[in-house]
């Protein structure tokens, strides 16, 4: 040990000058970095592989993949890293050493939290970047909505801050596993609330699953994202503020600031809870009146892309361009059979889904409307070919059933169920069978067999359906050309069918 140099005299550095270097050391040595390989595996196994089955639609991928795959995988790791970091002073018996330094305790804790948060946000943004880049490689229209990314970042920050604060206040040996399990259970509660009617469940980003065409036909509706970000930001502020409340945190002024941050956090979280209490399900998403911008209700302008199928143009929104060939070929058999019939649609146009609560619950809607003198059938692609296990055949069957139903004068409800009189049902079934669609009995349909439900065996409608299906296509077409208007008006009985 050598002779000391003459005592240097220095003036105290301002915390703002010291903090970056302290943060650098904390980030460099934070334990969360060791969790990244595990996180990468979880990301690949869940999000990345799932994304391969998703349509390349910006809104859907950004919201659903980030909020329902990236975050649930990431957040337990974030919590674990934050808890381990928060309990560090206690675990390493370093409280005396750090308390005897000039830096206020609150500042020290926040910088320490920054070490864990830095890695957590880096991991999150890395996952988001991969999701966005892979989407950009295949997307044909639009761009990413930012609000889901912001909400996800807020959840990462809130989890990190809350985990750190819990571990700092309760640094026992069981703190880490208990807090991580708590975070996991909180996520599960969020998913459970998605299936309930509880509006408070809307505060969790895990609850709200978007429709497939979110952000395609209408602007991304940010109301719920704003409320969720307010809530999560409030939770983070409460956690960070609470770290500055103990006497060891600093002087009165600093602790007053910490108290103000805590109160502001409580206010923000409470306000968000109040706002979601006023939420209602709009046609394009969850609407919160106080946050709602009327401009979000105006449809986005686009030029549809079309392809002829059976002589009739089938048009989709450009974001769905990749599905157009399959969609057109799936519909072609029926459209070829009905082309030229009076009342048959001259055009099939994709419209926005009206169902917005849950992707798996989103089903089919179709109607024929006169637009600019052209009878057009508006259809929705609620379950895109290849998406969520739905195959092209199922999509084609669903759409053709709707086309046939509305052609003969029946009605298709939101669940895809057809309401028609027996004669209309018999004609619809015959048309579908001719187009290659399996026609099943109502009993088979109740058992969820694949196919479209036709008349019940043994009924007069069933006999008429079999009779009509046995006719040559030209004869059937000729009969329909002569009687379709009466059939649609409900003036044809089963016995009058050929």
């Amino acid at each position: 040990m050598t002779t000391p140099a003459p005592r240097p005299v220095y003036t105290a550095a301002r915390p703002v000058h010291v903090a970056p270097r302290l943060l650098y050391i904390e980030v460099r040595r934070n334990v969360t970095r060791w969790l990244l390989p595990l996180l990468a595996v979880a990301f690949w196994f869940d999000t990345y592989r799932t994304s391969a089955g998703y349509p390349a639609l910006w809104g859907l991928r950004t919201q659903d993949l980030i909020l329902h795959h990236v975050l649930p995988d990431l957040v337990p790791f974030v919590a674990a890293g934050a808890v381990w970091t928060g309990a560090r002073e206690h675990r390493r018996n370093a409280a005396d050493l750090v308390t005897g330094t000039a830096w206020p305790g609150w500042g020290r804790r926040v910088v320490c939290l920054g070490g864990a948060l830095g890695w957590a946000l880096l991991a999150y943004l890395g996952c988001v970047a991969i999701v966005l880049v892979t989407t950009a490689q295949h997307a044909t229209w639009g761009g990413p909505p930012l609000w889901p990314v912001v909400t996800g970042a807020a959840e990462v920050i809130a989890t990190c801050a809350a985990g750190f604060a819990c571990a700092w206040f309760f640094p026992g040996r069981l703190a880490a596993p208990l807090i991580v399990i708590g975070v996991f259970l909180a996520q599960m509660a969020g998913f459970s609330l998605a299936d309930s009617d509880s509006r408070l469940g809307l505060l969790s980003p895990a609850t709200h699953v978007p429709p497939i065409d979110v952000g395609v036909f209408y602007p991304y509706l940010p109301d719920l994202s704003i409320a969720q970000t307010m809530f999560l930001g409030g939770v983070a502020a409460v956690a960070v503020g609470a770290l500055g409340l103990p006497a060891s945190s600093g002087g009165r002024r600093l602790r007053a600031v910490a108290a103000a941050v805590t109160v502001a956090g409580l206010g923000s979280a409470g306000t968000a809870a109040g706002l979601v209490g006023t939420a209602y399900q709009g046609t394009q998403g969850v609407v919160i009146p106080a946050l709602h911008d009327a401009a979000s209700d105006r449809p986005l302008a686009y030029s549809p892309v079309c392809q002829r199928a059976g002589g009739i143009p089938v048009c989709v929104q450009p974001a769905f361009t990749v599905y157009l060939p399959d969609t057109a070929s799936a519909l072609a058999p029926l459209l070829a059979g009905v082309a030229g019939l009076p009342g048959a649609p001259a055009r099939l146009t994709q419209e926005a889904t009206s169902c917005v609560t849950h992707v798996l619950g989103c089903t089919f809607g179709a109607e024929i409307a006169t637009s600019g003198g052209t009878r057009a059938l508006r259809f929705t692609i609620a379950q895109t070919p290849g998406f969520y296990g739905e195959n092209l055949a199922a999509f084609g069957q669903q759409t053709m059933a709707a086309v046939a139903a509305v052609l003969v004068g029946g009605q298709v409800d939101d669940a895809g169920d057809v309401t028609a009189d027996p004669a209309q049902l018999a004609v619809m079934a015959a048309l579908l069978l001719d187009a290659g669609v399996p026609v099943i009995t109502p009993a088979q349909a109740d058992a969820d067999d694949a196919g479209v439900a036709g008349p019940a065996p043994g009924s007069a409608a069933y006999a008429a359906y079999r009779r009509l299906a046995a006719l040559p296509a030209a004869a059937r077409h000729a009969w329909l050309a002569a009687h379709l208007a009466a059939l649609r008006a409900g003036h044809i009985t089963v016995r009058e069918l050929p």
């Binding site: 040990m1 000391p4 005592r7 000058h17 390493r92």
Partner: protein, 252 residues
């Protein structure tokens, strides 16, 4: 005077760890001796402003640490090595010392030079980039000393600083203490009376929370000339003074 204590007490529940200590100390190396449980560590923790006294008056470097701003001023000029050094195993030696230099409000521009100097002064230059988890107990102790002296403190508090040091390092450490004591008040709490004899200009002996002796090492040695027990003159002075204090305490 850098340390001025008047009737300082500290209680932990019903246990009185420090019972009315009055003490003054200026620049120099001040040895704090005493048996286990005498209150040395509690006194040092109060001097380090880690815990407040229960009662009494304390001025450190001419400032009253009850005020937060004064406490911060003291802490900037303070070096503290606790009895149990809490350390972060994933930090390197340089990072750990730098971390504490920054927490002591040292200007970032001056930190690298100060850290390198502190690490060199404890002979850890060759291990500067080593992770703390790879160091031996003695080396960790030296890292603790380095973080305590990195800001060239005016008040240096060392609790059992030589525990775990090999004889060669201990000799070097005593030299360092003498050098530091030329312009700072260095308080060394230790069980090793030879450290006190070799490095301290003043010594206080604590027992049951009280100062039972305050003087020079020579004066303490003189007290054991007649009936002290021990291998060295200072040890004999230590045991004789302690026995005398306990006898007086029993009588009173």
């Amino acid at each position: 005077m850098n340390i001025e204590l008047t009737d300082l007490t500290r209680r932990f529940g019903r246990n009185q760890a420090v019972a009315g200590v009055t003490l003054e100390a200026g620049p120099g190396v001040f040895g704090l001796l005493g048996p286990n449980g005498a209150g040395k560590t509690s006194l040092l923790r109060m001097l380090a402003t880690v815990i407040p006294p229960t009662s009494g008056r304390m001025l450190l470097l001419g400032r009253d640490p009850r005020s937060y701003e004064r406490r911060r001023e003291i802490r900037r000029r303070l070096g503290y090595l606790p009895q149990n050094l809490g350390y972060y195993p994933s930090f390197t030696v340089v990072e750990f010392v730098e971390y504490f230099a920054l927490l002591k409000d040292m200007p970032p521009g001056r930190v690298p030079v100060a850290v390198a100097a502190a690490v060199e002064r404890v002979d850890l230059g060759g291990k500067a980039r080593a992770k703390l988890r790879t160091l031996s107990g003695g080396m960790l102790r030296r890292v603790g000393i380095a973080q305590a002296i990195v800001n060239d403190p005016e008040l240096l508090l060392l609790d059992e600083p030589t525990a775990g040091l090999d004889p060669e390092q201990r000799v070097r450490f005593r030299a360092l203490l003498r050098d530091l004591g030329q312009h700072a008040t260095v308080v060394v709490s230790t069980h090793l009376v030879e450290d006190v004899g070799a490095a301290c200009t003043e010594v206080a002996l604590m027992d049951a929370g009280r100062i039972v002796f305050h003087g020079t090492p020579a004066e303490l040695t003189a007290r054991g000339a007649a009936d002290g027990a021990g291998d060295s003159p200072l040890e004999r002075g230590y045991t004789a003074t302690l026995a005398s204090a306990r006898m007086t305490g029993t009588r009173s």
